[in-house]
């Protein structure tokens, strides 16, 4: 690994000031499960690494306030998956956080890092899209919320501006009852990146939200407000037509090692239908 200097700011303002001063020569460190790999292989050569883990404002890890759950930037997947409030309100996010990497990875990898890395295969992206999460960006001009649907650009690229960092992910506690599920396809069980990663949420008003990743440059959210998908009695042909329109934004890369475009598109349809069925069942069961 090439050398760099290490900064451990104690406040968000210090971190933002460092990031603003160094610009692209700085990299942020939360869990390090992506960063350290790229520091070692030389694809990233920052002059300073800014460790966010001692920032006072990023504690507590998770708090609930006025109908929103706030998950701070340094909260690891293990803690996201174990938190009673996350489990109660956002079970599909729990399912996604619980399959990222291995135990060792989940003990270090953060939800915010998964989002900032902007991998199209990020497992937590689909549930965050379905639940309508917002990314809290902190910068020299203060903080601003970015709807997660407007956050991802392509692998490794987000709509964060220079000098901005993600301080937290905020999730609105659903006001309507919702059934939701996260599913994915991997080459092997256990520790692997997804060939398709997907979340479906159906609420009591009949709105179906479907988000999928690893089948294009960024994760996609599509919404059906017609009520047809959520209706178990609706004709199959009508559902198929809507689902096909919802999958139209999938454009898997032909160069990926993990799966062919044909396989991904086929599995997207299989998982999409399966997730819809499970989400409807969970809504009915009140889970």
């Amino acid at each position: 690994m090439h050398t760099f200097s290490y900064a451990r700011p104690g406040t968000l303002a210090e971190a933002v000031a460092l990031l603003d001063a160094y610009g692209p020569d700085a990299r942020l460190l939360a869990g390090g499960t992506d960063l350290v790999i790229r520091l070692r292989d030389g694809t990233l050569r920052p002059s300073v690494v800014i460790d966010l883990k001692r920032i006072a404002e990023l504690r507590p890890a998770i708090r609930e306030d006025a109908g929103w759950l706030t998950i701070s930037a340094t909260t690891v997947m293990t803690d996201v998956a174990a938190d009673a409030r996350v489990r109660r309100h956002f079970p599909a996010l729990v399912e996604a956080a619980a399959v990222v990497g291995s135990v060792q990875i989940r003990n270090r990898a953060t939800l915010a890092g998964n989002v900032c890395n902007a991998s199209p295969a990020a497992d937590t992206a689909p549930p965050l899209l379905v639940y309508g999460a917002e990314v809290v960006a902190a910068g020299p001009a203060g903080t601003r919320p970015i709807p997660i649907a407007e956050f991802f650009v392509r692998s490794g690229e987000t709509t964060l501006a220079r000098g901005e960092l993600v301080a937290a992910i905020e999730l609105p506690v659903p006001r309507r009852r919702m059934g939701a599920v996260h599913l994915r396809r991997t080459r092997r069980r256990g520790h692997d990146l997804a060939s398709v990663t997907l979340c479906c949420g159906v609420d009591e008003a009949g709105v179906t939200r479907l988000a999928y990743g690893s089948v294009g440059p960024r994760p996609v959210l599509v919404v059906d407000e017609s009520g047809v998908l959520a209706d178990r009695a609706a004709p199959e042909a009508a559902k198929t037509a809507i689902l096909e329109r919802m999958f139209a934004d999938a454009s898997p890369s032909p160069r990926s090692m993990r799966a062919s475009p044909e396989y991904r598109l086929a599995m997207l349809r299989v998982l999409g239908r399966r997730a819809l069925r499970i989400a409807i069942e969970r809504l009915a069961a009140g889970e």
């Binding site: 760099f4 790999i37 135990v103």
Partner: protein
């Protein structure tokens, strides 16, 4: 720029004060500075688990942790499992089950299995597989490793 940084880590119960470079990992410091070579270097991308250690009660891939990040933490390595010259029951079960073939992955497997049993004292086979999913064995001794973990859980009741 590359000045060293003073850190303190409690390693296997003993407080160690060290000067580390910012780009050195916990793995490098354990092996090279503290000569604790039980922890292995292998894939260096967080997939194989050979470098697994426990940090403040949670297992991590030490190849993905900068040593400076471990400042103020308590780290347990495989050398910390045995006490008073006696093997930990899990280590004995690995021996009894023939779980170690070439042995290279075993320190990491032991740390992950030890962590699993602390969280889930009576795991199912699936829970053992999931708990050890971050540890690869290139000899493919998974069946014996799983048996050793289950046998340890069972014996703890007696």
């Amino acid at each position: 720029m590359s000045a060293t940084i003073p850190i303190e880590i409690t390693v296997n119960g003993r407080l160690r004060a060290l000067e580390v470079a910012p780009h050195h990992t916990l793995l490098e410091v354990l092996r090279d500075d503290l000569q604790l070579t039980g922890t292995k270097e292998c894939c260096l991308v967080g997939e194989c688990g050979a470098c697994t250690v426990s940090m403040d009660g949670r297992i991590v891939d030490s190849c993905l942790v900068l040593a400076v990040e471990a400042d103020g933490t308590a780290v347990t390595t495989v050398e910390g499992l045995a006490g008073d010259g006696r093997l930990n029951p899990l280590q004995q079960a690995f021996l009894d089950s023939g779980a170690a073939q070439c042995g290279f992955c075993i320190p990491g497997q032991l740390m992950a299995a030890h962590d699993l049993l602390a969280r889930v004292p009576h795991p199912t086979v699936v829970e053992v597989q999931e708990g050890l999913a971050g540890n690869l064995c290139r000899c493919a001794g998974y069946q014996q490793i799983t048996e050793a973990v289950l046998a340890t859980a069972e014996a703890a009741d007696r």
